[in-house]
C-alpha cells in the first residue's frame, strides 16, 4: 500500500483540481453546515435518550439550570439531573472531542503520508498508549488515577521513537520508512503489552476493557483533562489544512511554492499525535473513526484538505456521539463496547459511500 499510494496520488488530483481550487468559500461552508446540523441533531437525541427515560422537558430544564448567570430553577428530581448533567452530557462532549480528534488526526495522517490507509494509530500511538495503560494497571496500584497520563506518555513516546527511526532512514524514502518504522514499533510495544497482560491475568479484564474503548464512565474531569490538548491540536491541524493540499502535489513542488515540507510534516504529525494520544488516554482504543470519517468526507464533500480537515472534525464528533448513543441504548441497561458499534455501523456505511460515489464519479479512495 505504501508503495503504490504516491504513484496513485498524482493522477486523481488532476481530476479534482479544478473544483478544489475554485472559489472555495461556498464549497467549504456547505459541507460544514450540513455536518454541523447532523452533529447537533445527534447530540440532541443523545441527551434525551438513554437507558433511563427522562422527559425532554426535564432534560431541557436540567441543561438550562447549568447555564451560568441564568439562575434557572428546575423541578427535575436530583437523580435525573445527575443522569443528564453528570453522566450523559460529559459522555456526549467527550465522545465528540475524541471523535473530532481521531477523524482530524486520520485526515492529517492521510495527507502527510499520502496513504489512504493511514489512520491516527499508524505511527504506534495506540500500541504505545496501550502499553502505558497496561503498565499503570499492572504496577500502578489500585485506583487507576494515573492511567490517562501513562497512556498519553506511552502513545507520545511511541510516535517520537517511530519518527526518529523513520527519519534516520534518510530523506528520500521518508514516508515509506516512517510507516514501516511505525509497524515495527507498534509490533514491539504490543508484544510487551501482551506479555505484561498475560503475566498478570487477574487484571486482564481491566486491560481488555481499556483496549476495547468506552465512554461508560466518562466524567467532566475527563473532558477538562483532554480539552487543552484537543483544542491546540485541532487549531494546528486547521491552520495547516492548506499546506496539506500543497503537499499532495509532491515535496519538490511544495518546495518551489515556498513550503518547508519537512517542518510542516513534523508540526502536523506532532499535533495529530498529541491530540490522538490525549483522546485515547481517556477513551481507550476506539477503531475505525480515524480511517473512515475522513474518507467519507473526502468522497462526499470534496478532496481539498481545506474541506476535509474541518468537516472531518465535525463529522467525527457526530459519528462517535451517535455510536456511543447506540452503545448505551441497544442492549440497555447493559453497555455494548463502542468499538463494536463503530465497526459494525461504520464499515458497511463506508463501503456504501465508497461504492455509490465510485459509481457516480469514477473516483476511488486512493485519491489522497
Amino acid at each position: 500500500m505504501t508503495a503504490t499510494a504516491p504513484a496513485r496520488a498524482t493522477e486523481p488530483v488532476a481530476v479534482d483540481a479544478p473544483e478544489v481550487r475554485g472559489p472555495g468559500a461556498r464549497r467549504t461552508w456547505v459541507p460544514m453546515v450540513v455536518a454541523a446540523s447532523i452533529m447537533i441533531v445527534i447530540s440532541l437525541v443523545s441527551v434525551c435518550v438513554g437507558p433511563v427515560s427522562v422527559p425532554p422537558s426535564q432534560v431541557l430544564g436540567t441543561l438550562l439550570a447549568h447555564v451560568p448567570l441564568l439562575h434557572f430553577h428546575t423541578s427535575t428530581p436530583p437523580i435525573d439531573q445527575a443522569i443528564v448533567w453528570q453522566l450523559r452530557m460529559p459522555r456526549i462532549v467527550l465522545a465528540g472531542l475524541v471523535g473530532a480528534m481521531l477523524a482530524a488526526g486520520g485526515a492529517a495522517y492521510q495527507g502527510i503520508f499520502r496513504n489512504p490507509l493511514a489512520d491516527p494509530y499508524l505511527l504506534g500511538v495506540a500500541a504505545g498508549a496501550g502499553l502505558g495503560a497496561t503498565i499503570e494497571i499492572v504496577y500502578g496500584g489500585d485506583s487507576s488515577t494515573f492511567l490517562p497520563i501513562f497512556a498519553f506518555v506511552g502513545g507520545s513516546l511511541a510516535v517520537a521513537a517511530t519518527y526518529l527511526i523513520g527519519v534516520a532512514g534518510g530523506r528520500r524514502a521518508w514516508g515509506r520508512s516512517i510507516v514501516l518504522a511505525g509497524v515495527a514499533v507498534a509490533a514491539l510495544l504490543t508484544a510487551i503489552q501482551t506479555y505484561l497482560q498475560q503475566r498478570d491475568a487477574e487484571q486482564i479484564r481491566q486491560i481488555y476493557n481499556w483496549i476495547l474503548g468506552s465512554f461508560s464512565v466518562a466524567s467532566w474531569s475527563d473532558v477538562t483533562l483532554i480539552l487543552p490538548y484537543v483544542v491546540v491540536s485541532a487549531a494546528v491541524l486547521l491552520a495547516h489544512r492548506r499546506m496539506l493540499d500543497v503537499l499532495r502535489v509532491g515535496e519538490e513542488e511544495a518546495g518551489t511554492l515556498g513550503i518547508h515540507a519537512a517542518r510542516t510534516r513534523l508540526i502536523v504529525v506532532a499535533a495529530a499525535t498529541l491530540g490522538t494520544a490525549a483522546a485515547v488516554s481517556v477513551s481507550g482504543l476506539i477503531g475505525f473513526v480515524g480511517i473512515i470519517v475522513a474518507h467519507t468526507v473526502r468522497l462526499t464533500a470534496g478532496a481539498s484538505y481545506r474541506i476535509i480537515v474541518p468537516v472531518s472534525m465535525i463529522a467525527g464528533a457526530a459519528f462517535l456521539i451517535g455510536a456511543d448513543l447506540i452503545a448505551r441504548t441497544v442492549e440497555a441497561p447493559a453497555e455494548v463496547p463502542i468499538g463494536v458499534v463503530t465497526a459494525c455501523i461504520g464499515a458497511p456505511f463506508f463501503l456504501f459511500v465508497l461504492v455509490s460515489r465510485r459509481a457516480a464519479r469514477g473516483v476511488g479512495v486512493g485519491d489522497t
Binding site: 438513554g50 437507558p51 445527575a82 460529559p90 489500585d142 485506583s143 487507576s144 487484571q203 479484564r205 481491566q206
Partner: protein, 302 residues
C-alpha cells in the same frame, strides 16, 4: 446471637482440626466423575497439583492439604499452601509435569492440557466455576472421593449447608426482595441474580438490579451496566467486589459524579467484599454470606 455463632462456625470450616486427620478409608483405585468425564485414579494421590484457587481451598478444607504438592500463582489461600509460579489460566504441561503429580486439578478446561497430561499418565480433574451451590457441593464430594477424604468432604458439605441455613434464618426477610448493585470493577460490570454469587445473595432475599439487562443471562450473567441505569435504579445496597483489584471503597463510590444522591451511599449501605472470596465458589463463601447478613442487620433498608 445466631450471627455470631455463624461467624464462629465459618471460622471453624477453614481450619479443619484433628478430626480431619482420620482417613476415611476409600478403596483405590476409584473412578470419579468430573466436568471432563470419568477419571480413574489408581492410588491415593500424594502429589496433587492444584491450578485452581477454589480447588486449593476445597482440598485444604477436606483435610487433603498434606497431599498437595504445588498450587498455582493465584492460590493464595490458605497461606500455607505450597505456592508456585504455575499459571492456571494458561497451563504449561512440562512445568506441571516437573512436579511429578499423581493428580492435577484445573478450573478451566484449557484445551489439550488434560489430554497431554493424560498421555503422561497423570489423571486430571476439571472443576470449572460452579453455577450454583449444588455444583459446589458436588465438587467437594468429587475431590473427597479422588483424594480419599470422602467422609470429610460430606462432613464439610453438611457443615456449610448448616452454616448457610443458620445465616439465612438469622436475617429478617422483607416481603419484597431488597435490590442491590454488585460491582465487579469500576466500569460497572455486574452480576445478575442467576450467577453463582447472585444465587447465594438471593438466599438472603436480595435481588440484583442487573437482572434488567435481558441479554445478560445469555452472556453468562455478567453485564456491563450503564451508569445512569444504576443511578435510576437506586439500589438498596451496593456490594463492592472490586476492593482488591481496583481499590474501590464507600469513599471512592461516593465521590463518583452523581452517586452521592444514591440512598445506599447516603445511608451507608455500601459494603466492601473480598474480591477473591467473592469470585470463588469455595468454603469461604460462608464468610462472605455472613458479612452480607451482618450488613443487612446493621444497616437495614426500610
Amino acid at each position: 446471637m445466631p450471627l455470631v455463632t455463624a461467624l464462629a462456625a465459618a471460622a471453624a470450616v477453614l481450619f479443619p482440626g484433628a478430626a480431619a486427620s482420620a482417613a476415611s478409608g476409600t478403596a483405590f483405585p476409584v473412578k470419579v466423575r468430573a466436568a471432563n468425564g470419568s477419571v480413574s485414579i489408581p492410588a491415593r494421590p500424594t502429589a496433587i497439583v492444584s491450578l485452581s484457587p477454589t480447588a486449593t481451598e476445597m482440598l485444604y478444607a477436606i483435610g487433603a492439604g498434606s497431599q498437595v504438592k504445588a498450587v498455582d500463582e493465584y492460590s493464595d489461600y490458605p497461606p500455607s499452601a505450597p505456592h508456585t509460579n504455575l499459571d492456571g489460566d494458561d497451563p504449561n504441561v512440562e512445568a506441571i509435569a516437573s512436579y511429578k503429580p499423581d493428580l492435577v486439578v484445573l478450573s478451566d478446561e484449557a484445551p489439550g492440557v488434560d489430554s497431554q497430561l493424560g498421555e503422561l499418565g497423570i489423571p486430571v480433574l476439571s472443576d470449572p466455576a460452579a453455577a450454583n451451590l449444588a455444583q459446589e457441593y458436588a465438587q467437594f464430594m468429587e475431590l473427597g472421593e479422588a483424594t480419599g477424604h470422602e467422609a470429610q468432604a460430606s462432613a464439610e458439605v453438611a457443615k456449610i449447608k448448616g452454616q448457610i441455613s443458620a445465616i439465612v434464618k438469622s436475617v429478617h426477610k422483607s416481603a419484597k426482595p431488597l435490590t442491590y448493585y454488585y460491582e465487579l470493577d469500576q466500569t460497572y460490570y455486574s452480576a445478575t441474580s442467576s450467577t453463582f454469587i447472585g444465587q447465594v445473595l438471593g438466599l438472603l432475599g436480595l435481588r440484583s438490579i442487573a437482572d434488567a439487562a435481558k441479554g445478560a443471562a445469555a452472556s453468562g450473567g455478567y453485564p456491563q451496566l450503564s451508569g445512569e441505569f444504576i443511578l435510576k435504579s437506586d439500589p438498596r445496597y451496593i456490594f463492592l467486589a472490586d476492593t482488591i483489584c481496583c481499590g474501590q471503597s464507600p469513599a471512592t463510590v461516593a465521590a463518583r459524579p452523581g452517586w452521592s444522591d444514591l440512598t445506599a451511599v447516603k445511608d451507608g449501605r455500601v459494603l466492601k467484599l473480598n474480591d477473591d472470596i467473592a469470585s470463588r465458589w469455595g468454603p469461604r463463601i460462608v464468610i462472605l454470606l455472613s458479612e452480607v447478613a451482618a450488613e443487612l442487620q446493621q444497616h437495614p433498608a426500610s
